[in-house]
Symmetry: C2
Subunit: 447 residues, 2 copies
């Protein structure tokens, strides 16, 4: 059995574990190891991987032949780091440091354990005082596929590194998530409705308004989010990771890799649910290389072959509101905000085809009109969108209620048109990318 | 020339680039690549690195001998991924995906460029819309070694990935930083006193109270911090990284490595300044493996041999207040906080030996007593600490002013003693680890 990997992979690999920075090519005392990095030299290098060690032999050296026909016994007779140090007038201490713990003394178990780059990442978690309490991992209110999937995936990761954790949800999961969980026989996490006194990692949100009650009285021990940085703060230094990628679950995939923790089949499935939903099957404008790589890797681990049809099923479930009331529909995928004392909410509703969009937009408008006064919000918004976008149709109707909301519909967006009641756009819009920033900007400039 | 690297390094390396998760051992369609990971199989594997590709040959296969005596010409005649796919009834598409882009088709340049793990990290930065404006990277008010060093290092990193950036400081740098910059002939960054309308990355802080004026009207495009998550928020999804490690500069070192960007000699020096100061030369309780690894690697790149004596010089500079006024000393290393509407400030002052600590504590007490009313703070604190901690001495005097502050000194700390005026402790205390969390907890419980 055999296969090929390009040289660039090994170079990238060595760079990944720190050689790019650890070993400066120009410092003469470290030329022993500099050959690993030098492009011109590496052409002639042979690497042999065997029982005890890897030998890298420069073909220009006198030892060229040793690398070409190697066995376990022969390797044991080769120079150790000690001898290299002596040969090059480098103290052992320096060799250890110049390779940042990566070039190590043979048979030294304690040093060997330092050699794994993932231990740097792991150490950050392990040195944090999680105490004996269970850590609850939870997404935002109105639990969608990414909020739920990220909570399950991150709780699983914490447990795998021996930090006691449990995924929870703020309320029963939405239709799309429910469809996926049912299809794969995965149990929905339990509901946690108040965070007071609890130890919490927030995923897929970082705003108190989007968090369950009691979050200000919780011990926040971690945040993973791909939205704007919100107002949730922590009492102590914690681990928090924000990146503008398609899905929060993709950030968690990256953390799994950094920690070198294997992903179970079920967790891979659940992370795919998140990525499929939040990147719209990798077609959303927010989709990053990270999302695509996570998707590809998780597809294999999950054993799911027919991701496209799974996604179709999720999309259909999205617009299946059955006999839900207007209020239930408005709040299915719904977030609240408060910027400089101005409060607003943005719901997202799905429909199929412009005629259905128009009907649903009218229902949402009527709901907002009837409830604006008692809601207490300065502005209410609802996005009604085509779940399967079509060319030449208006795929988004954005509805606003409240004086400032109308002004925003009139002035804050481009590419679409305001028809006196709705802002209509050809594109499917992302709440965090297209809607929240212009509203925030409007408020910041006016108030 | 030759040297040894342990097998575990290569295994860790492969894991680092994603093989642990990408290639499940149990899935039969991917056994072609699964041999890389299997511990029992790897004993017998030979790897040869040459001009065009790396060959991994399982010794149990019929091709065993090919790996043992290899040249450029021979490699070109070996199987490509295409043939492996055919041999194993795997479509090329699947092989590409199962290795997450890492096992690649030979001679396909576009796919090859996807093969570098660092491109995932880079993509996150490059897809963000930094626009044409310059990005200012800035630390907190009263610029110390980590705030200044992190700003310089992160601005340099952004420039290296073609994002136009400039390090700035909120005010002239403190004595310790000044000592280091002078010693290495490094220019201090320019002062930026107002962030309004500017594009900003915050380093080493995430609280508006610790940020320069106008931060609420800035476009926040990034945050790197190792303190508690503060109240700074962003309008749009951004890159932000919080980790409980010794120095913010160590997080930046990690990001350099993730992006595979080489660190220049001067930037390595400046990052060492940060790490030396914030980890107290790797002795602080907050020191993590990341800090130690960064220190070791940066030491080589920086070319600085005598780090211990450099650190001694920094420590001496710390307590050199010359003819500064009490107010200037109080505010040299100084941070403001507001928790649930209760405002307080915590200064940190250095002295050498308990007698000097006592004298300095009295000066700070008198300053706080005279200025408490007009300051508007609910509480004022000052930590006076021994820069070179001694056994059996009280190395920290913590001074509080305001009713709640005295209550906190009496009840919120352990291990030391309250003498009716000062809280005295044997240990040197960290503001973010030992002081802020109990104060925050006290306020949250009482108000």
């Amino acid at each position: 059995m055999r296969f090929s990997i390009k040289k660039s992979l090994i170079l990238a690999t060595l760079a990944t574990i720190g050689y790019a920075n650890v070993i400066p090519k120009s410092t003469s005392t470290t030329t022993t190891t500099a050959t690993i990095l030098s492009d011109s030299e590496i052409e002639d290098v042979n690497v042999s991987l065997s029982n005890n060690e890897v030998e890298v032999l420069d073909s220009s050296s006198e030892n060229e032949d040793l690398g070409s026909n190697i066995s376990n016994n022969e390797i044991k007779e080769l120079d150790t780091v000690d001898n290299i140090c002596k040969d090059n007038n480098i103290t052992e201490d320096k060799v250890y440091k110049c390779a940042s713990g990566e070039v190590i003394k043979v048979n030294d178990q304690s040093v060997k354990e330092e050699s794994d780059k993932s231990s740097i990442y792991l150490d950050i978690f392990k040195q944090f005082n999680f105490g004996n309490k269970i850590t609850y991992v939870i997404g935002h209110k109105s639990p969608d596929a990414d909020a739920v999937g990220s909570a399950i995936a991150f709780a699983d990761l914490l447990n795998k590194i021996d930090i006691k954790a449990q995924a929870v949800v703020s309320a029963p999961v939405n239709q799309e998530t429910n469809y996926f969980l049912n299809r794969f026989g995965i149990k929905s996490p339990e509901v946690l409705s108040n965070a007071e006194g609890k130890q919490i990692v927030l995923v897929d949100h970082s705003n108190y308004l989007q968090a369950i009650d009691g979050m200000k009285s919780a011990r926040i021990v971690g945040i993973i989010d791909h939205h704007n940085v919100g107002d949730v703060s922590s009492e102590e230094p914690i681990y928090a990771r924000f990146a503008y990628v398609g899905a929060a679950a993709s950030i968690i995939y990256l953390i799994y890799n950094e920690l070198n923790v294997p992903i179970s089949k079920e967790t891979a499935q659940i992370m795919l649910m998140s990525i499929l939903s939040d990147t719209e099957n990798l077609t959303s404008i927010n989709t990053r290389k990270l999302d695509r790589d996570a998707y590809a890797a998780l597809k294999i681990i999950s054993g799911i072959e027919d991701l496209d049809s799974i996604y179709e099923g999720m999309v259909d479930a999205r617009s299946s509101y059955g006999d839900m009331t207007d209020e239930q529909i408005f709040k299915t995928d719904y977030k609240e905000y408060n910027i400089n004392g101005k409060s607003f909410c943005v719901g997202n509703v799905n429909a199929y085809g412009e005629q259905k969009i128009k009907e649903m937009a009218d229902r949402m408008y009527n709901y907002m009109e009837s409830n604006y006064e008692k809601s207490g919000f300065n502005m209410m918004f609802s996005m009604v969108q085509n779940v399967k976008a079509k060319e030449n149709e208006n795929n988004t109707y954005l509805i606003g209620y409240g004086e400032d909301a109308i002004e925003i519909l009139k002035t804050a967006f481009s590419d679409g048109e305001f028809d006196g009641k709705y802002y209509k756009a050809k594109d499917v819009l992302s709440r965090k990318t297209h809607i929240i920033p212009p509203i925030t900007k409007y408020i910041n400039e006016k108030y």
